[in-house]
């Protein structure tokens, strides 16, 4: 394969804290030069030249929380369909949650996912393995072997680990293998019947609520265990200002703790549920506007490390139901960047911080070869017109499921082209 040159590119590379106009040169699957100084280096013979006309080039985004229906629910999403949705959203690496059927809790399943991804996916797919067999919260999985087979993290996915003893053991054991445990904190009893944020709005709708404490109490427990075990702990999705305080304190105390937030909790609040709109039934539930603002602030100041899409395909049979009976979750791979750029355009969070939270930061936490435009890096990147306005249209979404919280949303900033290992995988 010959070289590709991206000229007149606004290179936004958080791994080097760099935002400048310059040129990128790609040879085979690697970036060989990138920066302002490259503009004068000339062009390799026979290279394909792309004039970016000042559009931004970002490292391919890394989405650390993606639910896929394969194996088990291919009618909702396959690894291939999710990868096309990802490419269209500028996401070149995704970490796949183990909540499949069968559960990704053994080496054979990890290998199945990696093989299927290699054969059918257009982006990098990294499996995360279950912490416990069958996600039942009882017996630990073969963490060492799973790691060796290619699992990049262990997590219970949508589930939470109620058993404190087991949580301690899993953290301690995972530490020996350098594996991160990603956990969504949700109390096993408090607010367990809840289907939305507890408060006045849920009361009027007659819906059972989940209080914010249902997230904060187990998160506090986990911080104590992170201190006790000195393991790497990642709070998969936090949704309240109180949780951000807990994470901030843990970091201040030097614990090996990181945190993520879904794009939904940075963009929406409980009022978006309106009159029982089930696409907005999420786990954790959408909270108050003050919580959303606290999430934005925690992202800005670095308390929250990463933004995830929490992509969770659900279809008609799980969503076209009364609110309390509907499944939680929303798709998000294709709208992740557009929604995140709202925070940049309205001045809430600087561009480099937003891009970092979706590229170099998750790559660092999960040890992926991704998230950088530094010479020598894998040529995973996306060209983005940061200013182009567009409207999300259900019919245009590539995901097999259409349960988007952003149907009809107006975004500013659109993916123009996406490359994985130097190869174009999406063009608008």
């Amino acid at each position: 394969m010959s070289a590709t040159v991206l000229q007149n590119a606004r290179i936004v590379d958080p791994s080097r804290n760099l935002d400048e106009l310059g040129t990128l040169i790609i040879r085979q699957d690697k970036i060989v030069a990138s920066g302002a100084d490259v503009r004068n280096q000339g062009v390799p013979e026979g290279a394909t030249i792309i004039d970016c006309q000042g559009k931004a080039v970002l490292p391919g985004l890394v989405d650390a929380r993606v639910f896929i229906g394969e194996p088990g629910a291919e009618h909702r999403e396959t690894i291939a369909s999710a990868s096309h949705a990802a490419a269209a959203g500028g996401v070149t690496s995704m970490i796949m949650m183990p909540d499949t059927d069968p559960v990704i809790d053994n080496v054979a399943l990890v290998e199945f996912v990696m093989r299927t991804a290699r054969d059918t996916a257009v982006v990098n797919v990294y499996p995360a393995a279950a912490v416990t067999k069958g996600l039942l919260g009882e017996e630990m999985t073969e963490i060492g072997l799973l790691r060796e087979a290619g699992a990049v993290a262990i997590t219970e996915g949508r589930n939470s680990i109620a058993n404190t003893q087991l949580m301690r053991r899993a953290l301690t054991y995972a530490r020996d293998f350098g594996v991160v445990l990603a956990h969504e904190a949700q109390d096993a009893h408090l607010g367990i019947t809840g289907v939305m944020n507890e408060g006045l709005y849920a009361s009027w709708l007659g819906l059972s609520g989940t209080p914010r404490e249902a997230e904060v109490i187990p998160l506090e427990r986990d911080m104590r265990l992170a201190a006790l075990t000195q393991a790497a702990y990642h709070a998969a999705q936090i949704s309240t200002g109180m949780s951000a305080e807990v994470i901030s304190r843990a970091k201040h105390n030097g614990l090996n703790v990181t945190a993520g937030v879904s794009i939904n909790h940075l963009s929406l609040n409980e009022n978006d549920i309106g009159e029982f709109r089930t696409f907005f039934r999420l786990q954790p539930p959408l909270r108050l506007e003050e919580d959303r603002l606290a999430m934005v602030e925690a992202l800005r100041d670095g308390t929250i490390d990463i933004i995830v899409s929490a992509h969770d395909p659900q279809d008609v049979d799980t969503k076209r139901l009364p609110f309390a009976d509907a499944a939680a979750g929303a798709i998000g791979l294709e709208t992740l960047l557009g929604a995140a750029l709202r925070l940049y355009h309205n001045g809430d969070v600087p561009l480099l911080r937003i891009v970092e939270a979706m590229s170099s930061a998750p790559a660092r936490i999960f040890g992926l070869d991704a998230g950088s435009l530094r010479p020598g890096s894998k040529a995973d990147m996306t060209i983005v017109d940061l200013d182009e306005p567009w409207v999300v249209n259900e019919e245009d979404l590539r995901s097999r499921s259409k349960n988007s919280c952003f149907e009809g949303a107006r975004f500013q900033g659109r993916v123009v082209q996406t490359f994985v290992a130097g190869k174009s995988v999406f063009t608008i």
Binding site: E198, G199, L200, Y201, A202, S203, W204, L205, G206, L207, S208, G209, P211, E275, F276, R320, L321, P322, F323, A324, D325
Partner: protein, 321 residues
């Protein structure tokens, strides 16, 4: 406007909740219901208003009283009434709601009455069918015809609703009746109180338009209306309250507690009653009780609602819902 020639024009296609109704809408329905009472009291209990119309009662939760009340109301208006009870089937709640609705819709009914265990079920159904939908209770959300019949009962007993003090007592947390009543009574200018142990009150109750009390003696003081709510027995298992004995002691309505209300206060209950749990038998059957009257008003109110929704003038004048 057509309001002069059609004073009963009701600008809604469905009745999904009290929320969304204006005070004028409510008063109109109560006035119409008042005129329906006579129909049920005469020997030939039949009108022809809904002759040729089809009413389907779709009850995912068993409810003999509400279902028969809607059935009688429809029949007395001359409609063809069909009952679909799905509550006792093994089908999991919700799963078949849309499919059932689409099937029924294909039979071209004029009005669907739905009772379902999940909040928002009636609204979901209304989006999918071509006919009018009446919410006969959806989860802990709303039960609009119950609130209307309660208001009619109060108005007939007291001559007005405005400025009356109404104490709603008991399991407000799980009660759709309480929510609909709080909205309606506020709309008509009543002073609403709720009286319950804190575990049976929803979050944010003090912002819902009701004054909050935890002791019956305080909450009933000088009340004009005492409205009791049913306490489901399974609430004990959920640790909302410890026992029937303790609940009755502090929150059950007996003669002693009723003395704190005004001497002419009326006692209401949406039924079915748990005698000895939330209400003592002598109070339920006593002179201040209007519980039987509520049942009678139920038929009248449901006749009024269906007549208003299916008013032929709506179609004739192309009123949007």
């Amino acid at each position: 406007m057509t309001s002069e020639t059609s004073p009963l024009l009701f600008p809604h296609r469905h009745l999904l909740g009290i929320k969304g109704l204006s005070p004028q809408d409510i008063v109109q329905l109560l006035d119409l219901a008042e005129s329906e009472i006579a129909v049920s009291r005469q020997s030939e209990k039949k009108k022809a208003t809904l002759r040729g119309r089809t009413q389907i009662n779709l009850f995912f939760e068993a409810s003999t009283r509400t279902q028969s009340s809607f059935e009688l109301a429809g029949k007395r208006l001359g409609a063809d009434v069909m009952n679909m009870s799905v509550g006792n089937s093994s089908v999991k709640k919700g799963e078949t709601l849309i499919d059932t609705a689409m099937t029924l819709n294909a039979m071209r009914p004029d009005i669907l009455i739905i009772r379902h265990g999940s909040a928002g079920a009636a609204a979901l159904l209304a989006q999918k069918v071509g006919c009018s939908v009446v919410n006969a209770g959806d989860g802990a959300h709303e039960h609009p015809t119950q609130a209307l019949l309660d208001a009619l009962t109060i108005r007939r007993a007291k001559g007005k609703v405005e400025r009356l003090t109404v104490a709603i007592c008991g399991d407000v947390l799980h009660s759709r009746v309480a929510r609909s009543n709080i909205i309606l009574l506020n709309a008509l200018g009543a002073r609403v109180r709720v009286v319950a142990p804190s575990t049976l009150l929803p979050a944010g109750i003090s912002h819902m338009g009701a004054e909050v009390f935890h002791k019956m003696e305080d909450g009933l003081k000088d009340a004009d209306v005492v409205m009791m709510l049913r306490l489901q027995r399974e609430r004990m298992a959920g640790s909302f309250v410890p026992s029937v004995r303790e609940y009755f002691r502090y929150h059950g309505l007996d003669r002693e507690k009723l003395k704190y209300a005004k001497p002419d206060a009326i006692v209401m209950h949406p039924g079915p009653m748990n005698r000895g749990v939330e209400i003592a038998s002598d109070v339920a059957d006593g002179v201040q009780s209007v519980i039987q009257e509520q049942v009678e008003m139920g038929v009248a109110v449901r006749m009024a609602v269906m007549e208003a929704l299916l008013d032929p003038r709506r179609n004739a004048e192309g009123v949007a819902g």
